[in-house]
């Protein structure tokens, strides 16, 4: 059987007045039911555009898929008509947005908004949808759901709004839930609650989750696979444990080194990745990360690396990923995140 979602060498470019912005420039991954994929990278690395491409929400023009394919249950969704796309959106593939403060419509009651996808896709009556919305609110842990459903968004706190957004995304029982930085706008304790809620929901519904974040710490306990993106390209992809414990790309190392940790003495300062992500219109020659890479060699400026399978199921787009001496430089430097074995579930 075909996997739930296949993204196959996706190239999403934007044709703007200033030039072609290669927002997504070669991304491949597959997602199975019940699994979680963490997509990690800095701002502008193409994470969100990848997500929006799967939702078919990239405005075209200026956006255009110049190469590659996205298949849902084995069927390409790029050629679908507007109507068929809408049938998938919010129904089979749902999305949670970054900022819960602005992602609910201020003029409708919470319950009405959660009921809307049900009315759109399941043809429920107003009454049925309302009852279902109240049930959903209970499921995402909103107390006194009957009353709270009648509230307006401005009466909800950030954490509650994000719960409401999750309820809205879950309404139709989607196969895939895309969460674009779902916890970035929330404070740390609420973050933990929201991630926990998403895990709990996944266990109950077997939906697949694509979790987009710039924070490796957020995906650490949730993701089965991790995709690291840089300048529109996948630079590392593999099972979460492999990416965390044996990173094969200097960019991933850089990200790991820049996470604050409570299990290491707090003497040293964090090590940032120096510099800025490159402009996506004029990428540096060779490896796009080379100008910022502390370990770059002259070859890096000349040869563009491909994403290759270095170990079984573990891909890297570094020219020296197979060079054990090169990798060893980091083995000595990187103090691993979460040195203790991780607990799951």
């Amino acid at each position: 059987m075909a996997p739930l979602l296949e993204v196959d060498d996706l190239h999403m470019h934007f044709f703007t007045r200033d030039g072609v912005v290669k927002a997504v420039d070669g991304v491949t991954f597959t997602l199975e039911a019940g699994r979680t994929l963490g997509v990690v990278g800095e701002s502008g690395s193409g994470k969100s555009v990848t997500a929006l491409s799967i939702m078919r929400l990239v405005p075209e023009p200026p956006g255009k898929v110049v190469k590659g394919d996205i298949r849902f249950k084995g069927e390409s969704i790029l050629g679908l008509s507007d109507k068929d796309q809408r049938r998938l959106r919010g129904n089979r593939i749902a999305m949670i947005f970054q900022d819960p403060m602005t992602s609910l419509n201020p003029v409708y009651r919470i319950g009405q908004q959660i009921a809307e996808p049900l009315r759109l896709h399941k043809g429920m009556t107003r009454k049925e949808a309302w009852a279902a919305a109240v049930e959903l609110l209970k499921r995402v842990g909103i107390p006194q759901a009957e009353e709270r459903a009648r509230s307006y968004p401005h009466e909800f706190s950030g954490g509650m709004r994000q719960r409401a957004m999750i309820a809205m995304a879950l309404a139709c029982g989607p196969d895939i839930l895309i969460a674009d930085e779902p916890t970035t706008a929330l404070d740390v304790t609420i973050q933990a609650q929201i991630l926990e809620l998403m895990q709990e929901i996944q266990q109950n519904t077997q939906s697949a989750i694509i979790l987009i974040t710039h924070d490796l710490g957020v995906v650490a306990d949730m993701a089965d696979h991790i995709l690291v993106m840089y300048a529109g390209k996948a630079v590392e992809y593999g099972v979460a444990d492999d990416v965390f414990y044996d990173p094969l790309h200097p960019y991933t190392w850089g990200l790991l080194e820049s996470i604050p940790r409570h299990d290491v003495e707090e003497k040293g300062a964090l090590t940032p990745i120096k510099g800025q992500p490159p402009s996506l219109i004029t990428l540096p020659p060779g490896c796009a990360f080379s100008p910022r890479c502390a370990y770059a060699r002259p070859e890096c400026r000349r040869k563009t690396p491909e994403l290759v399978e270095v170990e079984r199921g573990h891909y890297s787009a570094c020219l020296f990923a197979q060079d054990t001496d090169f990798i060893a430089q980091f083995e000595n430097r990187v103090v691993r995140v979460g040195a203790e074995p991780r607990r799951r579930g």
Binding site: D82, R89, F97, S103, N105, V107, S151, Y152, E196, N204
Partner: protein, 332 residues
Amino acid sequence: MDKDLPSEKATESPITGAVVPPSLASPDAERDQLGEEFELVTGPARSLRADAMRRLRRNKLALAGLVWIVLVILVAVTADLWAPRWLGDPVEIDSTTAAQRMLLPPSWEHPFGTDKLGRDIASRVVYGARVSLIVGVVAVAIMVLIGLIMGGIAAYYGGIWDAIIMRLADVFFAFPYILFAITLIAVLGRRGIENVFFAIGFLGWPSIARVFRSSVLSVKENEYVDAARAMGASTPRILIRHIMPNAVAPIIVYATMSIGGAILTEAALSFLGMGVQPPDPSWGNMLSDARAFMQSAPHMMIFPGLAILTTVLAFVLLGDGLRDALDVKLKE
């Protein structure tokens, strides 16, 4: 992230049937966890509309405007029941008595006096209110309808549509308003109230379109619009259900004020003889009649003039009050 979860034994949640840590399992514990959030949500749900009504009620000037408008509407609607009997027919000329009754100053019998044909001015002002209100409301309705469609298309679709519609609006702005209206009415042929509606509505839409366009452009950037698309809503549904309600506040304000403007324009057109035709009364053509008697019978000019002034002012005050009431940013 959640490495520091409480280490007590996990239990099954009664709601979801999922295994959750005990700290989340019972409703009471849940309340503790969400305690901070609970603080924020106590108190009755209050809608934006209720909020706006409350703020409007506090604005004395706007309220005065509203009261005056309601009064004018009541007078205009019920005119047939009392005006002809108490004051006299607004149109018919009683030829036997006309000679004695013309140009009388205000008195108990004729509170606003009579005109050059012996008709009661109060009665004519009352019937003139009908014309003014109908013109105001219908013309603005036409204007808002065209303006919303044009502005909505320009803002939501952007690009070439935006360019075409907004340049067309610029062309409309470039013409002198009254002259354009007169030309339009002349081209349409028959002089009458329908043409006045049409002319005002047709010429007024560009302002509405501009205001609505900028409003939609700012609302469109909100994440809930993306969320609605991600939910699978169609474009018309997003425009009507998700964008309109959030973008329409400045239109309500602008339309209210425009009713005043439309009443003024109708008066101007009737004054110039392009609007309502004699013998039917309209505040504009009454002013026109009064010109010749400005010194001998100033009441002929004063009362229709006052009617125009107060009614237009009332709409502007109400519009101003609505602006303050609907502006979320002005929250006390």
